[in-house]
């Protein structure tokens, strides 16, 4: 999955902007208030390419909090619950899919 921001952005469903937090690499989501949150529920959700690109442009203005922002698919169910939109994002949200050594 090449960096999606470098591809022509196709949006056919809800998307959010995500990145990694500078200090520790944690997965973060761009919020409506223009900050970053580690909780996907806080993410600003948009549904058009223009809105997504605007969100991405805003997110890319400052690279001190989060690095490598890109547009990622999300799901929104009937109750409005937000979830990751594909396996890659599921893993980013929930961690590796097997039990870690301990």
């Amino acid at each position: 999955m090449a960096a999606p921001q470098q591809q022509k952005l196709k949006v056919n469903g809800p998307v959010a902007v995500t990145a990694n937090r500078l200090t520790d690499g944690a997965v973060v989501w761009r919020t409506k208030a223009g900050g970053w949150s580690v909780e996907l529920v806080d993410a600003a959700i948009v549904t058009t390419a223009d809105a997504a690109l605007a969100l991405l442009a805003e997110a890319g203005k400052r690279d001190l909090d989060a690095v490598g922002p890109y547009v990622a698919p999300v799901t929104v169910d009937d109750q409005g619950t937000i979830g990751p939109g594909n396996l890659r994002e599921r893993i980013r949200v929930a961690g590796p899919t097997f039990e870690l050594p301990h």
Binding site: N20, T23, A26, D63, L100, P101
Partner: protein, 551 residues
């Protein structure tokens, strides 16, 4: 072990201080990400899916107990309590915070360990046989030559910005455990008829998007000419290697495009001009490096001491002994492989506790030496045979005595989509699921030697092209799919696997692998015909017919 000198230590301390400053400037905003990224990569720091990853070089796969113990410490204090040993004889920590990286690096530097040249377009960690200086098969300790190359290539100004990364592997034994034919340069150390030491030089091997088996460009290079000849290769590569297209930049593409013969001619011409220059290795220079390797003071012992014979009456010990213990060149000693492939665990991962156990055992029974092999297992190269029963009991207690080395569940797997930002598909859980299908190790032993290699994308970090069964993760419409190849091998008869058929889904892979193995069991000429030989004899067709009929 190699004794590092004060220069190495001072240099490492300086590098850590420099990196600490760079991290500080990044966190304060003085450096942008674009400025910082190449700096962190030069120190082995990547950003993966959900955290930073630190890659640490283990030069030629040799560690001492203090170094391994320090790695355990770093895993416990700065990471989540484990590390991942890789096919390049390195270790990776998956969860380190940028803020804490300088501390972790300082801690590692104290024992002479670092991440320099584990990333970027430079000459990477030179890899070799994990049985170096222990196996009776070898003609010399290949690490001497790996160390000579390490010193030559480290921070060499001309080789810091090569067209692409550059990997060198060396073997000094007839049986190649270092996969030299799939490296940019492979070196086979041997003696000629006159008894002189020299290298067969192979170039242009590699995996990734465009895999090639290396081509021999010189059957015998006198050992002392090593550096001038490598320099000649690097110059030809630097001059003609492509920098316009990252996918065509490896030396293998150049060798393929102009042909091994042309390439060889260019190297020979370059070499003729420099071979008597400053890079000519004198006997003194070689002896000096040789002297810095400290070898164990072996006792005079007999093979098969009574304690061992007695212990072999225990069938569990005997099973492990048959699988994981190999002949040593010194009577009364053995080479022990420690499987990091307990059935169902992530291949190549070791917990901090396990690293400490291995460090302790290396101190007690193995002259403090530990090796990392490209199969993602560890090795104690020098263990007295009389100590094997006690060693086994301690390994067993730590979950480190699974007798499955070289068996179907001794799987090589890259981090895949569970960690890696470049991945298409997962690799580790696929390996775990396959391993579980063969959890009955009697069955696995019945199958015999069989290497399964899995990569989560075309970059081939899991060496899938050269697995007896190779598994490559691809993406189809947002789903994980896997291409299966048969008949690859990474040893002295290296070859790339042949595609079995259409890619299958994540869920189908373990069953398909089982079908391939069952088909082999039916078709093999007898228990002594290995999987790889049956595939060589029959090709993939009979496998394809059976397997795809069943799915």
């Amino acid at each position: 072990m190699y004794a590092y000198d004060e220069f190495d230590r001072a240099f490492l301390a300086e590098r850590v201080a420099e990196f600490r400053d760079q991290v500080g400037r990044r966190l304060s905003g003085a450096l942008s990400e674009d400025e910082f990224k190449p700096l962190r990569l030069m120190n082995g720091v990547y950003l993966q899916l959900h955290a930073y990853m630190l890659r640490i070089a283990i030069p030629y796969g040799t560690l001492n107990a203090a170094q391994l113990r320090r790695m355990a410490h770093v895993a416990r204090v700065y990471d989540r309590g484990y590390g991942h040993f890789t096919t390049r004889q390195n270790i990776q920590f998956n969860w380190i915070k940028l803020e804490e990286l300088p501390e972790a690096m300082a801690s590692l530097a104290e024992v002479g360990v670092h991440g320099i040249q584990t990333s970027g377009n430079c000459i990477r960690n030179v890899t070799t046989d994990q049985w170096a200086a222990a196996t009776p098969e070898e003609c010399d300790d290949p690490r001497i030559w790996a160390e000579i190359l390490r010193q030559y290539s480290t921070l060499h100004p001309e080789f810091t910005y090569l067209p692409r990364k550059f990997k060198i592997a060396i073997t000094a034994a007839g049986h190649d455990r270092a996969a030299i034919k799939v490296h940019d340069v492979g070196l086979r150390l041997h003696r000629n008829e006159a008894g002189e030491l020299g290298f067969e030089v192979l170039v242009g091997g590699g995996l990734g998007r465009t895999p090639f088996v290396g081509k021999s460009i010189r059957p015998f290079l006198p050992a002392r000419e090593l550096l001038s000849y490598i320099e000649a290769i690097m110059r030809v590569y630097n001059q003609y290697g492509r920098r316009d297209n990252i996918y065509k930049a490896r030396i293998k593409i150049l060798v393929h495009e102009i042909g091994a013969e042309e390439f060889s001619k260019a190297v020979e011409a370059e070499w003729a001009a420099i071979r008597d220059g400053a890079l000519h290795l004198t006997d003194e220079a070689i002896a000096e490096i040789r002297d810095r390797f400290i070898y164990p003071s072996f006792e005079t012992l007999e093979n098969e001491p009574a304690a061992l014979t007695e212990a072999l009456k225990d069938s569990r010990f005997a099973t492990w002994h048959r699988n994981s213990v190999q002949a040593h060149k010194v009577p009364g000693y053995s080479i022990v492989t420690i499987s990091l492939k307990p059935v169902g665990a992530p291949p190549g991962d070791a917990t901090a506790d396990q690293m400490e156990v291995v460090a302790d055992l290396a101190e007690r029974y193995g002259f403090s030496e530990i090796r990392v092999g490209h199969e993602q297992n560890l090795c104690l190269p020098h263990v007295a045979q009389k100590d094997l029963p006690a060693l086994w009991a301690a390994l067993e207690a730590a979950g480190l005595a699974t007798p499955n080395v070289n068996l179907v569940n001794d799987i090589i797997a890259c981090p895949g989509l569970d960690y890696c930002a470049l991945a298409n598909a997962r690799a580790i859980p696929v390996a775990q699921e396959i391993a579980k299908r063969f959890a009955d190790l009697d069955r696995a032993r019945g199958v015999g030697r069989l290497h399964i290699n899995i990569s989560g994308c075309i970059n081939a970090c899991g060496h899938h092209h050269v697995g007896h069964i190779g598994i490559l993760g691809v993406e189809k419409n947002g789903q994980e799919f896997y291409q299966i190849t048969l008949g690859g091998r990474a040893d002295e008869h290296a070859q790339l696997g042949t595609l079995l058929g259409p890619a299958v889904s994540y869920e189908q892979v373990p069953g398909l692998v089982e079908d391939v193995v069952d088909t082999y069991m039916e078709l093999r000429a007898g228990p002594h015909e290995l999987f790889i030989d049956t595939v060589a004899r029959l090709g993939v067709e009979p496998f394809k017919e059976r397997v795809y009929a069943a799915h």
